[in-house]
Amino acid sequence: MMLQLPSSRLLSSRPVFEWVWISCAVLVGHALLLVLLCQMGQTPVAPVGGNASTEVVVSLIATAPAREAAVKSPSILSLAVKKISTSEPASDQGLEPPKIEPEVALNPDNAEPQLSAADAVTLDQFNPASTGAPGVPCDLTATLASIFAQSPEVRQGLEGVPTSQRSVANAVMLWDGHWPETSLSGGQGLLRALLVKAVGHARPECLTQTNRGPVLFLVPEDQTTVVLAIGSGEWRWGDLLNSPVDSVIASRNIFIPTASVIQPAT
């Protein structure tokens, strides 16, 4: 399509000198356009989409590849992470206790889960995969995630975890540095025993790998998925092999405290 600009309509029935003046003005304008295009100095790009009538316009004004409009020599974003010694015992790396601390008492007996006879059989049938030969790098988190996602024994354990022991998004906190009291029996008891057995099968060097924050395992269950959460702060898989039991876990939303918790940092 040819554009009908206002200037072209003015060209009829005008004195010659007026034509010359207007033509010069148009030329000046186009000269400015040419300078602009030269300054851009990039190869026009082919049109994408649109219709054929726009291609003439494109050849005049498309001066820069669209995809390059914002690309500016990207550099690798450095995510500085504080290095943590793996030789130190598990700790919260200087984490201060939260202002609202659930009332927790530790069971001095470090009680083992009391499994039913059926669950004991299930535990016996559970044969977690090997974590590989000594010296081969191990990713115990990935290995355990795979084991838990596929194990029928784990699914059997989940069947014994009532809704009241799950979050609205079907998450179960299995171990946060302590075993919950609910892990002393029932489905959580079996899950705990299965986890301990799986971790116990791992090579010793795999047990000292440092984890930061919770690890979440997704386990299919009927038409949905259960999230098994394990860990809190800085921890190692080996930590859960000899871990105490909480006798009371206060379940509350610690994210929305009242204003009274605001205290100076020092």
Binding site: E18, T54, I61, A169, T225, A229, I256, P257, T258
Partner: protein, 534 residues
Amino acid sequence: MNILKRGGIAILTTTSVISLMAGTLPTYASSHREAPGVTKSPKVDSTDFYMFRSYEPGREGFVTLIANYQPLQDPGGGPNYFTMDPDAVYEIHVDNVGDAKEHLTFQFKFSNALANDKGIQLNIGGTTNSIALRDAGMISQTPTDPNLGESESYTLTLITGDRRLGTRAAVTNVSGGGTTFGKPFDNAGRKTFPDYATYASKFIYNVAIPGCSTAGRVFVGQRAEAFAVNLGSVFDLVNFVPIEGDSAPGAHDGGGFPGGITQSRANDELVGKKNVTSIALEVPISCLVGAGNGVIGGWQTASLPQARLLDPSATYKQPSVSGGAYVQVSRLGMPLVNELVIGLPDKDKFNASEPSGDAQFGAYVTNPTFPAILNLLFKAPVNATLHTNIADLAPNNFPRNDLVAAFLTGVPTLNQLKTVTASEMLRLNTGVAVTPRATQKNLGVAGDDLAGYPNGRRPGDDTVDITLRVAMGALCYPVPINGTPTNLGVCTPANAPVGNVPFTDGAPISATDLQNAFPYLNTPLPGSPLSEHR
């Protein structure tokens, strides 16, 4: 008119075209009018992006993606209301690999048409004239309604690979195989639409998605705003005390922070007052995840041709001439990033950029300015109110690895893609179970609901409150998982003096405020009577 003036007009005309083109070339411009450039192009202004496992009963095997455009729509904005830009492409991108590049793109292209090329016509004293309005009577049918003089339609294309160079295939209507879909006329009011909800529902299509054995659904049309925000007061130097004033949201007991704002719809600038245009798509999970780990990253964009020339002999079909490669002018993944995180000089650059180039914006996340602004505004009153001596309300862990995890990389084993490339997009673990609407927590993950923001984003997630708290260091404190306070290990309470404070803008939203079925956002507010949106 003398010749000098006429010559001047000629120069002006030509140079205006140049200026127009020059202005269009780096068409940077996107959330609600958050960048200077995009304020010039409201039709392509991205406002909110949602991505979540469908919680409509029976649809748990799907992911719903909603890309909103055109902010601050006054329901009474007739007679033309809010059509989409026919020159633009509107796109939803999905990265299922983790390289910060799109591997699936759903591209929407719109067009408008007058009935019989004339719209509705009337015979006035023997002369047939087109009417000045888009409609001339009650509307109840789909685009063929005889009282509707202008219809709007769109095509939907699935692009596999690069959005411009990848393989293109049309998404088709399961019923009849057509490739064109209708968009409902905006909600002009109760007289035009006695039952707008039923009318709009006719524009929900079951669609065949190439390469996907199960049908999806698509809807494009006006919806009621669901982004709850105390907009005017926030940008008036936070002209309220942004801490919960009740002991718990909605408690109405004044037992929270002294003088703090309390939850009320009256604090909201958008919900219940404005509309927006939604592109909503529901896709089977299996068709989105590819060969990845079940986590997908998503974001929306809008792009315009590089140039637009105003045509002095404009017609309905061609009011202007556009050409050139498409230039992205709007981008949105996580809410409020360009609004509150990216610096003013770079907002339009961000809108024109792609996630793969986000390293250039990294410092805005690792060393954010927004918490420092809140410190400037509120340190003195907070200390005075509480008789404390907090030196700085803003967190001091730099780089802010807590924000990097939330906004740029995802949280390991929650919503981190198989390959980790620091980039800004919304990340959803499609393996996490759906939380039914009735039990959703509007603080998402921070509220002990792993199916919520920032693991994707649902319409009922109160992202303003979440963002305020996360910015001030909430992730430095334990968050609840199944009721158990859990340390995320990214920073400590010592880093965030007020990270455990319930910051809020006082504008609440929750899933029960919204509908429980696709497209989830509510029926748009009617243009009349005024009482329904004032």
